[in-house]
């Protein structure tokens, strides 16, 4: 390998270890791996609601099942409890994971993160109706749902971090006689740091509101989260992220895992926004969701490995390649690329590097193009990783999804094919 690519490889390895070792990013990654299944369950509640309870498209259209439409609010409730309410459990879980990494009491830290967050957001909801503004105690959907995600995560990181520092200061500990059970001492010793943290954040929140005129959650949403969402949802933004992720895969590093701390919160916000749009009768407009990622961007494995397998089975005369292709076929249908990535191998393989890096970007462009021309709708049903191709496209995006996925697999087959032929010639020339 040349010096340049050596340095490049070392650089990416350093980035991977740094992201993984970073406490905050690591905690965010762990938090979303706990919470993602709930988001998928919430989106499946939406699907069940349509399939069973919709008087137009569901089972309820038949008179024998008309009663099903009366239980429709139950499925909406499951969706609300998981998706429209996501910021509350996510802030709590993030607090727990942050505390585990710094060795402070975890459940208490989770509650501190959540309480600090709730203390800086408006606890009154106002509605204007016929010129009159009415208000009542309560938390608004913009706080509980995905719009509160970034401010919630920031407050959790800061408040749990402050708590961890204060917790370790001896002077703040209440001295107990040795005969007092240690559990009692621990519970008292958390009281002063807790009081300080909650007061600091509540005061900070109100000072921010008094100076700037708006609540901090509104400010962070419009200054940070919305711009990030806009970049992430743009063709240029997401393709750059996908190619970046594939560069890691070229080194044999799980690229999706490296970018997940920033990718997963933005995807969670996107599916929640789509669900809210459909509920409000508007057309959903956030294409890049987790379902979009597993169905199109990494169709048949990151780098569109399923197309490579078929290209090898069609064109390659090399027994070693054909054996790996057969071994990797079933896993690739379920989106698992590792047998081919490490078996062929694609890792640091100069012959296959270009398609391996760019195919997922091409797939992204094709699927986004289909959204742009109005063929493909933005999804409200998210798909877990591991569901076979075709089925994942159908569940998340209907028959249009299956068509777009097929176009991606065929297009990438033609991209892989010449490189398979070159690899045969390279072997023959050796």
């Amino acid at each position: 390998m040349s010096k340049f690519s050596d340095k490049f490889g070392d650089g990416l390895n350093t980035v991977a270890a740094a992201v993984d070792g970073n406490r905050f990013l690591g905690a965010i990654k762990d938090t979303f791996s706990v919470y993602m299944p709930f988001i998928i369950v919430g989106s499946f509640a939406t699907l069940l609601n349509t399939l069973l309870c919709s008087p137009k498209a569901g089972l309820a259209q038949f008179s024998a099942f008309a009663w099903l439409s009366t239980i429709s609010p139950a499925f909406s409730a499951v969706n609300f409890a998981t998706m429209s309410f996501m910021t509350v459990p996510i802030v709590f879980i993030l607090g727990v994971h942050l505390a585990r990494k710094s060795g402070t009491p975890d459940i208490i830290s989770g509650v501190i993160g959540l309480a600090s967050f709730i203390s800086v957001v408006p606890s009154v909801v106002s509605i204007t109706d016929k010129g009159a503004t009415l208000s009542a105690a309560g938390l608004s959907g913009t706080v509980l749902g995905a719009q509160g995600l970034f401010v919630g995560m920031i407050i959790a990181v800061l408040s749990v971090g402050l708590f961890a520092r204060l917790f370790k200061i001896e002077a703040l500990k209440i001295k107990m006689p040795p005969s007092v059970p240690s559990a009692i001492a621990t519970s008292f010793n958390t009281l002063i740091p807790m009081l300080i943290v909650l007061c600091v954040f509540a005061i900070g929140g109100i000072v921010f509101k008094n100076i700037s005129g708006s609540y901090i959650n509104v400010a962070i949403y419009s200054l940070l989260q919305r711009p990030l969402e806009a970049i992430f949802q743009s063709a240029g933004g997401i393709i750059a992220i996908v190619v970046f992720s594939q560069l890691f895969w070229l080194l044999g590093i799980h690229g999706g895992l490296i970018i997940s701390p920033i990718r997963n919160p933005l995807m969670a916000a996107a599916i929640a926004a789509n669900t809210a749009a459909v509920a409000a009768g508007i057309i959903p407009n956030q294409p890049i969701t987790y379902g979009f990622w597993v169905t199109f961007i990494v169709a048949g494995g990151a780098g569109i490995i399923l197309s490579l397998i078929v290209a090898i089975l069609v064109f390659s005369r090399r027994d070693d390649q054909r054996m790996v292709a057969k071994l990797g076929l079933l896993p690739a249908i379920c989106g698992i690329s590792e047998p081919v990535v490490f078996g062929l191998p694609l890792v640091l393989n100069p012959v296959y590097a270009i398609p391996f890096i760019f195919n997922s970007g091409i797939a992204t462009a094709i699927a986004l193009g289909a959204v742009k021309v109005g063929f493909l709708s933005c999804n409200t049903v998210d798909i877990p990783f591991g569901v076979p191709v075709v089925l994942n496209a159908f569940l998340g995006f209907g028959w249009q999804g299956v068509v777009v996925q097929a176009v991606i697999l065929v297009a990438c087959f033609f991209v892989w094919a010449p490189f398979v032929l070159v690899s045969n010639r390279v072997k023959a020339g050796e």
Partner: protein
């Protein structure tokens, strides 16, 4: 006590392919060993650090090796990255041999 080998990767899916092959290999050899695969983020959540003797990493998460070695080797868990070629070829027999060698068996 029964020895345990735990494999970790990003979501615990591709390692689970290898686990199936390793279990078959262990059965053929008559080795009594527990083999499981999980996502790296779920390793401690499931309390596996208490029962694991050998912790094997998928090569795609090799960058975690340093961190995991520092955390678990002091408590006697052997931590190693799986050879990437064996991983790709799902060579359960070879990976099992390597793991048993790490345990000194």
């Amino acid at each position: 006590m029964r020895k345990q080998i735990t494999l970790v990767c990003a979501v615990g899916m591709s390692t689970s392919l290898l686990v199936t092959k390793m279990k078959t290999a262990a059965k053929e050899r008559g080795v009594d060993v527990e083999i499981v695969a999980v996502a790296e983020s779920a390793f401690e959540g499931q309390g596996l650090e208490k029962v694991t003797d050998v912790l094997l990493l998928g090569p795609q998460v090799c960058f975690m090796a340093k961190k995991l070695k520092a955390r678990y080797e002091p408590s006697g868990i052997k931590v190693e990255v799986i050879n990437s070629r064996d991983y790709g070829m799902l060579n359960g027999d070879k990976v099992l041999s390597d793991a048993l060698a790490l345990m000194g068996e």
